[in-house]
């Protein structure tokens, strides 16, 4: 019969391959597109950071004009939050969640593709401002209002031309993508789990992405609403933020930060997820205190919705208002502490293998500890009256975003790259990457705290000599070079290993969650047969039939 010879794989021309990627609704392909897209923007924002570090290496430098510097820090921040961190985490979530809960795809594959393309076009729109932001006003290309774009700097009086419009529209468009993605995460995790996978047997990664999805749903909405208000102000004579007509610029701050602070948790919770998968596998032990980890994550999700005005301790809130936000912010330390102790307890008594993912994991723990402690300093409102908007804050949030989030993303790359490509990343290059990046990170961001303590405000394109800031800024700039070298090594490693890396096999790390039970890379349908699980570590049960987890849970 003719049907016997139907080939399983058809050789495709390059156009067909491009079309396949553009039109795909497969969660793995979409996840990879998110990741690659975010990596490109990571390089862009890194170049922006390097230019700023050159300018700040000396007092009274003239390498960049104030106008260019102000555009660079606006683009660096906006790109980093909306077009690097969020898409890369959505990408990993997209790729991993269905595999880890034993599903064949996300709940709404077409919505998934739509969400990705909205995010992608949002980023392109932001950068299109370089070509069209000028308008007819000679007002300057690219937004220069800072990533939180405080009113009334964004009004047409202070920001003529279209650069602010590009900023507004790109966040609006990307926000629609984020909401679509979040709907998909929540629906997938609640409805698509394989037989036997109750909520209490879900991998922590799924739990944490569920909380992340919920947070995105609640917090992107006010941001989107604020962008609509801003557009109304700019083009329809709205008066939301127009103080001359009874509007309030403080309202913008509330709208922005009720998005902006939970956003930090939108970014860090998926990173907690990576760490909660990686530390157990490389310590060879089950996660310590799984129920407490879930409870801590959910409570961080809720509490994080009530802390936003700690970004506003200096705007003149009444004393009881300030005290309230001190309390809510400090309360976050409790569930966060639980997580750190549970990770430590997981390592305790284990046999820790220091492969590259675990190195980055330990780096995360160390830096997240310090970033958390400087966070408590900033939560102490009077201390924040000194530290707020200084370089101390810049150092603090880079400690979280680079030392915490980026380190755990690197851990995730080294851990799941074999699953995604079928090849291992080179371990030697990985260790070089880790150590050079650690040195660069600590040179830049440890020393960046000090000018803040010595009175240096953020977002200054240059600074006076004689304030004791020069040495620290120079060290920070030198550290940036180390970080850039490490990133180049990482990119090189990913490219070379894609073609020449050692074959990974299904389960190179001897891990315990479902994604390692299928081939690397997984087939389009993920699993030949839908798995059935009895515990939180289904592969442990298979590997240790004499001592399965389900006996203890």
């Amino acid at each position: 019969m003719a049907s016997e010879s139907i080939p399983l794989a058809i050789h495709k021309g390059p156009l067909a391959v491009v079309y396949e990627w553009l039109a795909t609704v497969d969660h793995k392909k979409i996840g990879l597109m998110y990741i690659v897209y975010a990596l490109l923007f990571l390089v862009v924002m890194g170049i922006e950071a390097m230019l700023m570090r050159v300018q700040l290496a000396h007092a009274n430098a003239t390498f960049l004009s104030p106008q260019v510097f102000n555009r660079l820090f606006t683009m660096h921040g906006t790109t980093g939050v909306f077009f690097v961190a969020m898409p890369i985490l959505f990408g990993f979530g997209n790729y991993l969640v269905p595999l880890m809960i034993g599903a064949r795809d996300m709940a709404f594959p077409r919505l998934n593709a739509f969400s990705f393309w909205m995010t992608a076009f949002g980023g392109l729109l932001l950068y299109a401002s370089f070509f069209a932001g000028d308008g007819f006003s000679q007002a300057g290309i690219a937004p220069d209002v800072g990533w939180f774009a405080y009113a009334p700097l964004t009004s047409t009086a202070f920001s003529p031309g279209h650069s602010t419009d590009y900023w507004t529209l790109s966040l609006l468009v990307a926000g629609v993508g984020s909401i679509g993605g979040a709907v998909n995460f929540v629906a997938t995790i609640l409805c698509m789990r394989c037989p036997g996978m109750t909520l209490s047997r879900m991998p922590l990664l799924a739990w944490m992405n569920l909380v992340m999805g919920g947070l995105v749903l609640v917090t992107i909405s006010p941001l989107t609403a604020a962008q609509f208000m801003l557009m109304a102000d700019r083009y329809l004579s709205g008066h939301f933020f127009d103080t001359a007509a009874g509007g309030s610029v403080v309202m913008w701050m509330h709208f922005f930060w009720i998005f902006g602070h939970p956003e930090v948790y939108v970014l860090i919770i998926p990173c907690f997820a990576f760490i909660s998968e990686i530390i157990p596998v490389f310590s060879r032990k089950a996660m310590f205190g799984y129920p407490a980890m879930v409870a801590a994550t959910v409570s961080i999700g809720f509490v994080s919705l009530g802390v936003w005005a700690h970004h506003m301790f200096t705007v003149g809130m009444p004393s009881y208002g300030n005290a309230f936000f001190v309390l809510t912010t400090m309360v976050v330390a409790v569930p966060t502490g639980i997580k750190i102790f549970n990770w430590l307890a997981t390592m305790w008594g284990g046999k820790i293998r220091f492969a590259t993912p675990m190195l980055f994991g330990v780096g995360f723990l160390f830096q997240f500890l310090i970033g958390g402690l400087t966070g408590i300093m900033l939560a102490t409102a009077p201390f924040d009256w000194q530290l707020g908007n200084s370089y101390f804050v810049v150092a603090h949030f880079h400690y979280i975003i680079v030392g915490g989030i980026l380190f755990s993303i690197f851990a995730a790359f080294y851990y799941w790259y074999p699953k995604m490509t079928g090849r291992m990343l080179n371990e030697t290059l990985g260790k070089w990457h880790f150590w050079i990046f650690v040195i660069g990170f600590h040179l830049t961001f440890d020393f960046m705290h000090i000018p803040g303590l010595l009175g240096m405000p953020r977002r200054v394109y240059t600074y006076e000599a004689g304030r004791g800031w020069e040495t620290w800024n120079m060290i920070s700039s030198i550290g940036a070079v180390f970080q850039a070298v490490a990133i180049l090594l990482f990119v090189y490693n990913m490219i070379v290993s894609y073609f020449k890396g050692a074959p990974a096999g299904n389960d190179p790390w001897d891990a315990w969650t479902l994604e390692w039970s299928t081939s690397s890379p997984p087939p389009v349908y993920n699993f030949a047969a839908v798995p059935v699980v009895q515990s939180r570590r289904p592969l442990w049960d298979i590997k240790h039939p004499e001592d399965p987890d389900w006996k203890y849970e």
Partner: protein
């Protein structure tokens, strides 16, 4: 065997912990250096006014608690990383699986809760003490109005206005004469931050704020705008001159005078009107009464201009009038477009504004 290596490890760990504590305290002591050779004129750890002192004490308390937390958690992490790493000779067997411990998890929930309670109470106390302080009699009132990219200071009790250099009297703790700053903005958000005197407070359009300082030593205190406000946010510097009561009173009397009228610079003073400088600048005692740029009535009584960015010398003034962008690209002062002679005449006039 096991317990012996454990013990020696603990000894080593405690040595590491102690040396970290020592290093941290040395570092903060170095930052809080004596005033003989300050490492920075804007050091938050060199307070010289009650609000800054209250913040400083709270900062030290917070840092002490956090130092302990850091040493404990870091030691646990370091111990786990060293002690539980997989040895080369070890077999492939899995270590004992532990799924959790209610007692331990309860312990590391309750302890942080207690720390949070202590930190919160001490923080709330300082917030209350700084924000809700009563104004004693003899308080100096100043209204600071922030503009892109300079500061206007109004002294309603004395009925005059000056710019960019704030003068306040020293405050004797026994008989305090603090200065209360009413904070307004003429355009976008700004923030008033002189680290050695107080924490920062924002100046927001249509959202009046207040803050207070009671400097206890005479001298010059520096700071700068710390809320991004546009192109020249970086050169919106703050200078606070703390003077003895006598010097302050003398300065006030001088500032209250209208500008001196010197017939020898009549050409310059006429240009000030015909070239439209008056539209933005005020010179009391003349028709110039603009409010967009700094008050120039006593320009030459100031050490700097352009909001502290440029030393006030005749040469610098001349370059500024020639093109403000030389010193402050993006400054809102338009290029005056004057001939050489006109520049000379204007500068000659400005130099008489003592």
């Amino acid at each position: 065997m096991q317990s012996k290596s454990l013990k020696s490890w603990w000894r080593r760990a405690s040595q590491v912990a102690v040396s970290i504590l020592c290093a941290a305290s040395t570092a903060s002591a170095a930052l809080a250096a004596s005033n003989d050779k300050p490492i920075s004129p804007t050091n938050i750890f060199a307070p010289d006014s009650t609000p800054a002192h209250s913040i400083f004490r709270l900062s030290l308390f917070t840092l002490e608690i956090e130092g302990v937390i850091f040493v404990v958690v870091f030691s646990l992490l370091a111990y786990a990383v060293i002690k539980f790493r997989r040895r080369k000779h070890e077999d492939d067997s899995e270590p004992p699986q532990v799924y959790g411990s209610n007692q331990m998890e309860l312990a590391w929930t309750v302890l942080p809760v207690l720390i949070v309670v202590v930190l919160f109470l001490s923080t709330a106390q300082v917030i209350h003490r700084v924000q809700d302080a009563r104004r004693p009699a003899g308080t100096i009132e100043v209204t600071a109005v922030a503009h892109q990219f300079w500061w206007e200071y109004r002294y309603p009790q004395y009925d005059f206005v000056t710019s960019n250099e704030l003068h306040v009297p020293v405050s004797d703790p026994g008989n305090p004469t603090p200065t209360y700053l009413g904070l307004l903005s003429a355009d976008v958000d700004h923030s008033f931050w002189v680290p050695r005197l107080a924490g920062k407070t924002d100046l927001i359009p249509n959202h009046p704020n207040t803050m207070w300082i009671d400097p206890q030593e005479t001298g010059l205190y520096l700071g700068q705008c710390s809320q991004y406000c546009g192109t020249q946010h970086a050169k919106m510097l703050l200078r606070v001159y703390v003077q003895s009561r006598d010097d302050f009173d003398r300065w006030v009397r001088q500032q209250q005078q209208p500008a001196v009228s010197d017939p020898s610079v009549a050409a310059g003073s006429a240009l000030f009107i015909t070239k439209a400088c008056f539209a933005c600048h005020t010179i009391r005692g003349t028709p110039a009464a603009g409010h967009v740029g700094p008050d120039l009535t006593h320009l030459m009584s100031r050490d700097t201009f352009a909001s502290g960015a440029v030393p006030n010398t005749p040469e610098n003034l001349r370059s500024w009038v020639h093109n403000p962008n030389t010193f402050k690209p993006g400054s809102l002062m338009p290029v005056p477009n004057l001939t050489e002679t006109e520049q000379d005449q204007i500068i000659a006039y400005l130099l008489t504004l003592r």
